[in-house]
Structures are given as structure tokens and as C-alpha cells.
């Protein structure tokens, strides 16, 4: 498997290198959030069972046959149906999760069928006992079904709205800083929108040795550097 953990970190981001030579980042979902998704799905399935039972019982023998076939399909193929269409069951979707192949592509039909058949083994002896143990022992939070199918459950990547950089006069940053250090100026300017003014001051004051200013003046100075870096003078 080509997925690798970033060296020296204990976080749950996995990177996968595509044939184009770039790295995709996947954020794995843990047992708790997956259990919540399962609970939502369970509720939906219960409603579906109820509906089938209610409608089927009006149609005598054929109705009973359809009830049994419906139960069979929901028990085994409810997740498959949704996973191959949108990558997630309604429960997972509600929790912001998606199932993918471990190379970052959308889950394939066969992988989805395997992971949902092996669910029967994960469920043992009671409420996913085996599945939970295996997940906790596994680096990628895979239950047995995920291992057999080669799938991962990850957080859906939401696109964030990019804010405008603050409008200030651009100033060149002091010399002698590395590229990565310069990048922090831009990151700070982009994050500013989400921070309270006091927190901005607090952060900017940490760099007093660089800016030589305090509070709002320091913030403005950092914004100026960021503007210079992204737009020039």
C-alpha cells in the first residue's frame, strides 16, 4: 500500500502520491465519528424496515415475499447502494465522512461489496466488538472489512472560502528570513479574519523582535509584509 504516515507525527493525515507526482492528503476518521454515522444509518434503516413492513403487509403473499427480499437487500446492500453512488451512506454524509479506495479514488463496486460483506465478521460478537478492536490496532482505523477491501473512511474535504487579504500599504519584510518563515506572514494575514483583534495582537506581539511594533501596529506591519510577498510593492 502506498499510503504513508508523515514521519515523526502522530496525527491522522495520510498522504498518497498520485501518478502525476503530487501528494494528496487524506484525513482519517476514527471509531467515534464512525459509530455516530452508523447510529444515524441504523435509524434510517429502521424507518425503511418499517415502511417496507407497512406497505408489504397490504399485498398478501407477494407482499410478504417482497418484505423478505427487501429486508435481505437492506441488510446487505444498503451501504453498497449509497457508497457506489456518492461514496457515503446518509449517516456518513451527515458526519462529513466518505469511503474511498486507499489510493484516493472513489470506492469501486467490488471494494464496496467486500467491505460490507465482511461487516458480518466485524459485527461479532456484539455491536462491532471485533471491528473496534481491529480498528484500534490498525494505523489507518480500518476494520476487517476495510482491510479486505482496501478502503479508508476519511473526512470529506470541504472547500474553504478564501478571504481577501487586509488592505494595507505593502512593505518589504526584513532580510535574512527563510522562505518558510516568510510564509508564516501570509498564513497569518489569511487567518486574521477568523481571529479576534486581541488574539491578532497577541500573536503579532510574539514577533516584536522582527516588526519592532506593538499591538495593532505590529499586526499592520505583518499584513504589509504579507502583501509585499503576494503582490509586490
Amino acid at each position: 500500500m502506498e499510503i504513508t504516515a508523515q514521519a515523526g507525527t502522530t496525527d491522522t493525515v495520510r498522504t498518497y502520491e498520485t501518478p502525476e507526482g503530487i501528494e494528496l492528503q487524506l484525513r482519517l476518521a476514527g471509531p467515534i465519528v464512525r459509530a455516530c454515522a452508523w447510529a444515524i444509518d441504523l435509524a434510517i434503516r429502521m424507518v425503511a424496515y418499517g415502511l417496507i413492513l407497512g406497505v408489504g403487509s397490504f399485498f398478501g403473499g407477494i407482499g410478504t415475499a417482497l418484505i423478505l427480499i427487501g429486508f435481505f437487500l437492506i441488510e446487505w446492500f444498503y451501504p453498497v447502494f449509497f457508497e457506489i453512488r456518492t461514496g457515503a451512506t446518509p449517516g456518513k454524509r451527515a458526519m462529513g465522512l466518505v469511503v474511498i479506495n486507499d489510493n484516493g479514488t472513489p470506492i469501486s463496486f467490488s471494494a464496496s461489496v467486500i467491505r460490507n460483506l465482511v461487516r458480518a465478521a466485524d459485527f461479532l460478537p456484539l455491536l462491532y466488538g471485533v471491528g473496534l478492536l481491529v480498528m484500534l490496532a490498525n494505523r489507518d482505523f480500518q476494520r476487517l472489512g476495510d482491510m479486505a477491501a482496501g478502503t479508508l473512511v476519511v473526512y470529506r474535504d470541504e472547500e474553504e472560502k478564501r478571504g481577501e487579504l487586509p488592505d494595507v500599504v505593502s512593505k518589504p519584510p526584513p532580510p535574512g528570513l527563510t522562505v518558510d518563515e516568510l510564509r508564516f506572514f501570509i498564513e497569518f494575514a489569511e487567518r486574521s479574519e477568523k481571529l479576534t483583534p486581541e488574539r491578532r495582537w497577541e500573536l503579532a506581539n510574539l514577533l516584536q523582535s522582527v516588526t519592532g511594533e506593538e499591538n495593532q501596529d505590529a499586526v499592520n506591519r505583518l499584513w504589509s509584509y504579507a502583501k509585499w510577498l503576494t503582490r509586490g510593492r
Binding site: M1, T18, E20, G21, I22, L24, Q25, G60, G61, I62, T64, A65, L66, I67, L68, I69, F71, F72, E75, W76, R85, I100, N103, G104, T105, P106, S108, F109, S110, V113, I114, L117, V118, R119, A120, A121, L124, V130, Q142, L144, M147, A148, A149, G150, D157, E159, E160, R162, G163, V179, D180, L182, R183, I186, E187, E190, L229, T230, R231, G232
Partner: protein, 329 residues
């Protein structure tokens, strides 16, 4: 190049890819995209991959990098997705892939067959000669229900009196629900180092053999064999195939060889899936026969004749189907 100029210069490419992906991510019937603009995807995608790599290496702002990463991720998913032709794939699966897959799992099939057949013959033999031995295998209630199902005076063999009024359709639904579920579980339990599958196969062998032996021993053989012979070829073979799939999975778990254990399981899973899907189709056919034909009042000679034909067909299918072209076996 400053980030701003970079963005202004390439923004049209990004929005073009974004719009195309918006279309492609919709369901097939709601997307408004012609074949020609869809062919632009690989080109656009690779361009944006390039921009993403540049943005990262030039340390452009994290927000820009995140925006490009999101585009690239979506493009990757669309480009490397498998699509369509499912009906053709299903036919090709039945005609070639399924029997080929079984032949490549020949050893597991024989092992699964032995796990089923040995207890069936031994327990069956005991039950046929000793009428009380069946109580060591099943509870008294189960024995009573089973005797009732195949009593010579039962007009609907294979169903208890309680169920005899149920229509064939109900039984069809029941056989699907029950039998295919058993097949799936037999496979899934294989991942527990094969133990689950071995136990399931032994247990099924004991119970089915015991029932057959007991009923033959007490003289219900006309109703019993008349009922089961028609669908046995499909049903029993399918369960044994599910057992073979589970055993292969268990073997991959126990003895991964030169692979990592997780890769070994994944590979076995992929290889065994055709067996399970094929077996499910067979169980569907068996359910149909069992519900609409096995319990009918057709004379036993006709049933036996057709049952023999079906056994021959199943054997010929698995031995010969899908051989030939390109040296495939």
C-alpha cells in the same frame, strides 16, 4: 512570479476545471457536458497538478495551496473512476470470470467440499441406522418440525403445516433472505483466520447430512429426496463455493507468505469476491426452483430426471465454461 500574478494568469484554467468537475460529479442523467469538453479533463487536470506543485514549492499562501489541492483531489477522483457497461460485465462474469475464478480456487473448493461432505456422510450414516442419533445433532422441536415437513402425507413437502398455506412467492422471499445470507456469512467469517468458515461448513454438513440420513431411515425418502433433489445441485454447490471463498480469505490471513498481512488479505478478498457473487446468483436460482418447482405435485421421476440434468449442467459449466481464448483456464 508573485502569487498575485500567478493567480490572475491561471485563474481561467482553474475555473474551467472546476466547472467541468461540477458537471461530471452530477449523476449521468443530469449533467450537461458533451463528449468533446469531457475529453479536456485529463489535460486540464494535469495542468492544475502542475500549478499545485508550483504553488507548494514556491511557498505560496496556504489558502491558495488548499484551493488547488481541493481541485486536484476532485480531478483525481473523476479521472481514475471506473464507469459503466455493468450489463456487459455481468454477462462476461457469468460466461467466463466466475467459472475461471472457481477453477483457480480448486484446492479451496475441494477442502470446502470435504469439510461439508465428511460430517454429512458420517452423521448421515449414523442417523440412518439409529433413529435416535438425530437428537444429538438437533433439538427435539427441530426434529419434529423437520419430520412434519417431509411426512408422506404432506401435500407441500419442504414446508411445515403452519407454512403449507403460504404461497410459493413467500417461500421464494424466505429462501433468498435466509440462504443467500448464510452464503455471505460463510464467506465473511473466513476473515477470522478461516475458523468461522470451517465451523460453518462442518455444522452445515452435520445438520444436512443428519436430516437426510434420519428421514431416509424412517422411510420419508420419497418426499424428502423428491423435494431436495431439484435445487440441491445449485444450493449445495453455492454454499461450498462460499466456503471455498472464506477458506481462501482465512488462508491469506494466516499465511501471508511474502506479502504484508494486510496486502495478503486484500488480495485474497479481491480474488474471492467473484466466487461469492457467483454463488449468490446460484442461490437466487436455487431459491426460485425450491419455491416454485420442488414443492409442486410433479411425479418424482420427472423431478429426478431434471435434477440429474441440472447436476450435469452445473458440473459441465464449472469444468468447461470460460476456457480457451487466449490460453485462459
Amino acid at each position: 512570479m508573485h502569487q498575485d500574478a500567478f493567480e490572475q494568469h491561471f485563474e481561467p484554467v482553474w475555473s474551467e476545471l472546476g466547472d467541468l468537475l461540477d458537471q461530471l460529479e452530477r449523476s449521468r442523467f443530469r449533467r450537461k457536458v458533451d463528449a468533446e469538453s469531457a475529453t479536456a479533463l485529463p489535460h486540464l487536470y494535469r495542468k492544475v497538478c502542475n500549478h499545485y506543485a508550483i504553488a507548494r514549492s514556491r511557498r505560496y499562501s496556504p489558502a491558495l495551496v488548499a484551493q488547488l489541492h481541493h481541485l486536484v483531489l476532485r480531478g483525481h477522483q473523476q479521472l481514475y473512476k471506473r464507469r459503466g457497461a455493468w450489463l456487459w460485465r455481468l454477462l462476461a462474469f457469468i460466461a467466463t470470470d466466475f467459472p475461471r475464478s472457481l477453477r483457480s480456487h480448486g484446492n479451496y473448493f475441494l477442502l470446502s467440499l470435504a469439510l461439508f461432505l465428511l460430517p454429512a456422510l458420517i452423521i448421515g450414516g449414523y442417523c440412518a441406522s439409529d433413529q435416535d442419533f438425530i437428537y444429538s445433532v438437533m433439538s427435539a422441536d427441530q426434529v419434529e418440525a423437520m419430520e412434519e415437513m417431509y411426512a408422506s402425507d404432506n401435500a407441500r413437502p419442504g414446508r411445515t403445516l403452519e407454512r403449507s398455506s403460504e404461497s410459493n412467492f413467500v417461500m421464494f422471499g424466505f429462501y433468498i433472505f435466509n440462504n443467500i445470507g448464510i452464503g455471505f456469512r460463510t464467506f465473511a467469517m473466513g476473515i477470522l483466520a478461516g475458523i468461522g468458515t470451517v465451523i460453518t461448513m462442518l455444522y452445515n454438513g452435520m445438520v444436512i447430512g443428519g436430516v437426510a440420513g434420519h428421514l431416509s431411515g424412517i422411510g420419508y425418502h420419497e418426499t424428502f429426496w423428491g423435494f431436495v433433489s431439484s435445487h440441491a445441485s445449485l444450493e449445495l454447490t453455492a454454499i461450498i463455493i462460499c466456503g471455498a471463498a472464506g477458506l481462501s480469505l482465512g488462508h491469506g490471513m494466516l499465511a501471508p507468505g511474502q506479502l504484508r498481512r494486510i496486502d495478503s488479505i486484500r488480495r485474497r478478498g479481491r480474488q474471492a469476491l467473484p466466487l461469492v457473487m457467483g454463488a449468490a446468483l446460484m442461490l437466487l436460482g436455487a431459491a426460485f426452483i425450491e419455491a416454485f418447482w420442488s414443492a409442486s405435485a410433479v411425479p418424482n421421476t420427472v423431478k429426478y430426471f431434471l435434477a440429474t440434468m441440472l447436476w450435469l449442467l452445473v458440473i459441465l459449466y464449472f469444468v468447461f465454461a470460460g476456457r480457451g481464448a487466449g490460453g485462459n483456464r
